[in-house]
């Protein structure tokens, strides 16, 4: 009797799960229909326009004789953007490392400060870099500093969070052991946490450099600096050849950085 009851309960768990899935699926469909209706979006038209777009890109967005002459200018802007991303990420990484020490379970000074640190990190991370750029446009204007700080804030938030998790994962045990030997806080950080978390930290910094090169292109459109700006310029002048050369050079740069950072990762792991 008792057994039978349990068995029935067990089976009803599966029925329940099915019901939940069905409800969730229907919910998503309804949301989609509603959103499409409000925005006048037509799925079929959307998909139909893809081939047309491809044809347009293939005919218009091809670098021509004239656009190749703009290559030196494009490259110098591209390098400027890449170096800015590297500088931002490294600065933010160093700040985030020391800030994250206040947020980890192993090294925080007290739980409240830990909580505040996590909150600040979440805030900086969750405001998108483009929004930071818009905000900072008011104070700095269309300036390279605007882009720098916009990227700095999101990178700082993102890296603080990941560093807290990394440090908690890899070094809580050795922090305990070093504390027990009589090592003080700074010694424990440099002899215990830095060596055990360094490779993960470098991996995250490399990842953020890649991400920031992509984002800085977009932010450059807003702040009128770097590669984003000249793309905007050529595009609005209807110089599609040069604009496409910008796009191609960005793609090459991103792939190049990806390859380099993969190599670095292999060496440090």
């Amino acid at each position: 009797m008792e057994n039978n009851k349990k068995l029935k309960e067990n089976i009803s768990i599966f029925t329940k799960r099915k019901q939940t899935f069905t409800l969730a699926f229907l919910g998503v469909i309804v949301l989609f229909g509603l959103a499409s209706f409000i925005t006048n979006f037509n799925v079929i038209e959307g998909f139909e326009s893809i081939p047309k777009a491809v044809v347009w890109i293939a005919t218009n967005l091809v670098p021509n004789e004239k656009s190749w002459s703009r290559l030196p200018n494009i490259l110098s802007k591209l390098i400027e953007t890449a170096l800015l991303s590297v500088a931002v990420t490294v600065c933010a990484g160093i700040c985030a490392f020391f800030f994250s020490l206040l947020g980890t379970r192993a090294t925080r000074i007290n739980p409240w400060i830990g909580r505040i640190v996590r909150f600040i990190a979440a805030f900086f991370r969750n405001v998108p870099d483009v929004v930071w750029a818009m905000l900072l446009l008011f104070s700095f204007g269309q300036n390279i500093l605007t882009g720098f700080f916009a990227l700095f804030f999101t990178t700082f938030g993102m890296l603080t969070r990941t560093f807290i998790e990394t440090i908690d994962e890899v070094s809580s045990q050795c922090v305990e052991a070093l504390t027990a030997t009589g090592s003080n806080y700074i010694q424990t950080v440099f002899q215990g946490i830095v060596p055990s978390a360094m490779s993960e930290i470098v991996t995250w910094v490399l990842f953020m450099i890649e991400t920031n090169i992509r984002s800085s292109t977009l932010i450059g459109v807003l702040t009128a600096t770097g590669i984003g700006y000249i793309f905007d310029l050529y595009y609005k002048r209807l110089d599609y050849g040069a604009a496409s050369l910008v796009v191609i050079s960005i793609v090459v740069l991103v792939i190049g950085i990806e390859l380099i950072s993969n190599q670095i990762r292999k060496v440090i792991m």
Binding site: S171, T179, T181, G182, S183, I186
Partner: protein, 256 residues
Amino acid sequence: MPILEFQNVSKIYNGSTRALSEVSFSINEGEFVSIIGPSGSGKSTILRCINRLVDASQGVIRFDGHDILKANKNELRTIRTKTGMIFQHYNLVERLSVIENVLHGRLGHKSTLGGMLGIYSEEEKENAFAILAKLGLTEQAYKRCDELSGGQKQRVGIARSIMQSPRLILCDEPIASLDPSSSKVIMDHLANINDTMKITCVVNLHQVDVVMKYSKRIIGITSGHIVYDGPPEKLTKEKIYEIYQSNEGDLITDVG
């Protein structure tokens, strides 16, 4: 003259969980004491109260003339340099080499800057190599710790604690993750350190047979109370069942 003394020490976690209640005992210099008891009975808490990885809630703990609970930051650092600690999971900095991990035992004696940058004197380095030789790890000195076996890692842990030139070594289940042969190597090294270097050893253990063989004194603890304190000869079967709060036939030692 006892080197370590507990007087009515209690520890309450988060205001409600009672880990130790009114624990009192004293240990003389050069003793080899094992602490046994079920998981969660307070064995680890006792060890961690000694070097203040955990702060006791009430009572008095004296170690080598210091009142541990009243020690300020600098005194605490001195106390910690005098107490080595060995952990179940070795707690090494896995990405550093064996010799660097052994030299970490000197951090408590160094200036902040010297320790931060890892600058050690020739004498300290020679001493570290001598300790490694004693523990049979000379060939592993430059290997990264994550390449070592469990037994080797634990020997590095022992080397690090000896490097501190401690008066007392605390071992928190040193052989719980090791196979029987490595376990014997580790216990032999601990016995040897206790014997030749006259360093007092307090060891938390789960293996009753190991305890009987290696220690001259056993402390049995059950839910925060000391229920046995004496030599292994007087630890009767009934007492063991009382410590582990189980009936005859329910312990792994009863098999076979």
